[in-house]
């Protein structure tokens, strides 16, 4: 049993079907204690269902898993005592105030009344929500709601936290705040299972990443390993004069390889393995007399990761920022 205790999550061959759809089709995961582990995949890949099984909300049809050494089927109560869940839909009560939400959870977790109130104040302040503490959560912005959601998950510090797409639908500033919180949680020793659609998010936060597609893990490794297998990113170049595009394409093709002409007649992009290479190519382009309006080196998108790993693009819905989109599960 001692090897179990060094792992926070140990799942093997987890399977869950909804009707004819195999939402999760044999997922294996092992996450060591103290890690931030990213599960990367598009909507409908099976991320939420996997989290729900591990958090004992959904019963697997097959396979087994131990969470913090406890079997999710036989020892559900023990699992629930040690984990907390921040769901894709914010798991807070919209009809209560922020403070009431935190006091409510404290009481449900066995914190005495007075201590629960103190704890709520402490968390509201730490998460920058003290001014909004008395307002109903339904009037909160997306970022505030997410912060409250995470605060609610640590009213009693969990040993393992499930975070299901914590930044989907957030603006960049709120996203950065949530990232800061996740880093602080990890520094405090909490293990985090982070589901996300964004490679950048997994790259920023996670020690290890599993890429999941159609209910199965298709690649696993550190962010660096994953990016190495995909290429570090895409160089996008925009020209002042669209007439110069053929010339630019030729030069970039020579320097970096196959160039993609974008829909914008003045833009083109090319994948490259590292930033140095991209910088050299841009400099050469400029020296050759092509006028550059702008350029950017982007991280590979989820689509590009998927293209590289599976040969097919991720089926990301048309509006990936809509947090209510969750094709994985029928309404309960």
């Amino acid at each position: 049993m001692s090897d179990h205790t060094s792992l926070a999550i140990e799942a093997s061959e987890l399977v869950k079907s909804f009707g004819d759809t195999r939402a999760v089709d044999g997922v294996d995961l092992s996450v060591r204690r103290g890690a931030v582990y990213g599960v990367l995949g598009p909507n409908g890949a099976g991320k939420t269902t996997t989290i729900r099984m591990l958090a004992t909300l959904t019963r697997p049809d097959g396979g087994s898993a131990r969470v913090l050494g406890h079997d999710i089927l036989a020892e559900g109560d023990a699992v629930r005592r040690l984990v907390s869940l921040t769901g894709q839909l914010a798991s807070v009560d919209e009809d209560l105030t922020g403070r009431e939400n935190l006091v409510l959870l404290g009481r449900l977790l066995g914190v005495p009344r007075l201590a629960a109130k103190q704890r709520a104040s402490e968390l509201l302040e730490a998460f920058g929500l003290d001014e909004a503490a008395g307002r109903l959560v339904k009037h909160y912005s997306g970022g505030m709601r997410r912060r409250l959601d995470i605060a609610a998950s640590i009213v009693v510090t969990p040993e393992l936290m499930f975070l299901d797409e914590p930044t989907t639908g957030l603006d960049p500033r709120s996203r950065n705040q949530v990232w800061d919180i996740i880093r602080a949680l990890q520094a405090g020793g909490t293990t985090i299972l982070l589901c996300t659609q964004y490679l950048e998010e997994a790259d920023q936060l996670a020690d290890g990443i599993a890429v999941i597609d159609k209910g199965a893990v298709i690649a696993e490794g550190t962010p660096a390993q994953l990016k190495a297998s995909v290429g570090s990113g895409n160089l996008h170049v925009r020209l002042v004069d669209p007439e110069q595009r053929p010339e630019a394409a030729q030069a970039l093709d020579l320097a970096l390889g196959s160039v993609t002409l974008e829909a914008d007649p003045a833009a083109l992009s090319v994948s490259c393995s590292d930033a140095d290479q991209a910088a050299t190519a841009v400099a050469e382009l400029s020296r050759s007399g092509v006028q550059i309006a702008g350029f950017a080196l982007g991280q590979p998108s989820l689509d590009e990761v998927f293209l590289a790993l599976t040969g097919h693009p991720a089926q990301v819905p048309s509006d990936p920022t809509d947090p209510t989109l969750d094709a994985e599960e029928p309404a309960a």
Binding site: R52, S84, R107, L108, H139, M144, D180
Partner: protein, 282 residues
């Protein structure tokens, strides 16, 4: 959220990493909450919602007032010869009807709750599994009490003076609330099976309307056709109305009370585990 200039928002709402780290390290794990404590906390949640949206109490106050006035003055003369005579018969009946109607809303509220993410959090907590349901029904019982009190107070204003006095009224109200607690488990089950709050409302009233009207709540069943009378006689709602009248008038049959409590206990015993299982199902 009001729109403040960006810089100000930044300073005010930045999640403070050091403070978060301190907040994480400062919590020893408390002992698990007991079943009663968890249920009462959920009841408190129900009360908070009423506090934030007091309009929710309109349906449990206005509707009963309407029922009392309508039935007393519309049917009183025709059914019992005078409104005063009918009030003696109908008031305990309306008490039963109004409070029972309110139980349907427990199912509607639960169905509405399910569409929200917070239910997932409740499900993931280390608490006695039925406590969210028991708690919200305890909270709803307060609504039943409010509805019942409104009716009794209005009845007294209109001249209702039963033999057993205030004590009898309180006893009748208590019995009706206990029965309603049992019955609401049927509607919470319905609330977990049906697809939308509206569907729960429709199905709920489709069941509770005939059950209430085909009882002795409004009329003495002596004049009914025999088949109908047979149904009315075995309808537990008739027994509840009889028991309420008996408690108010001071001539209650002990057997009626036993039947009412037994039915409430049976409904709870069947539908509480069923509701809990459906609530947990993922």
């Amino acid at each position: 959220m009001s729109h403040l200039p960006n810089t100000q928002v930044d300073r005010g709402s930045r999640a403070d990493e050091a403070a978060i780290r301190a907040a994480i390290s400062s919590t020893p794990r408390p002992p698990q909450a007991g079943p009663l404590s968890a249920a009462l906390t959920f009841a408190w949640r129900g009360m908070l919602k009423v506090k934030h949206v007091p309009e929710q109490l309109l349906d449990v106050t206005i509707t009963p007032v309407m029922f009392v006035l309508m039935f007393t003055y519309l049917f009183g003369g025709a059914v019992a010869g005078s409104t005063a005579a009918y009030l003696d018969y109908i008031l305990p009946g309306i008490l039963v009807m109004s409070v029972l109607f309110t139980t349907v809303y427990s199912g509607v509220a639960l169905n509405t709750d399910l569409t929200k993410g917070v239910v997932d959090r409740f499900r993931s907590l280390p608490i006695w599994r039925p406590s969210p349901l028991v708690g919200s029904l305890l909270g709803d019982s307060v609504r039943y009490l409010v509805a019942g009190t409104v009716i009794i107070v209005l009845g007294v204003i209109l001249g209702y003076r039963p033999e057993a006095g205030p004590l009898g009224m309180v006893a009748a109200l208590g019995l009706v609330v206990v029965f309603s607690f049992g019955l609401s488990w049927v509607f919470t089950t319905l609330g977990l099976v049906m697809r939308s709050p509206n569907a729960v409302m429709n199905a709920g009233f489709m069941a509770i309307f005939p059950l209430t009207f085909l009882s002795n709540v409004f009329v003495d069943p002596e004049t009914l056709p025999s088949a109908l009378k047979a149904f009315v006689d075995v309808n537990p709602i008739s027994t509840l109305a009889d028991a309420s009248r008996g408690l108010m008038e001071g001539n209650v049959q002990g057997g009626d009370i036993v039947v009412v409590l037994a039915v409430a206990a049976a409904l709870t015993a069947i539908f509480l585990p069923l509701t809990t299982r459906l609530y947990r199902r993922g």
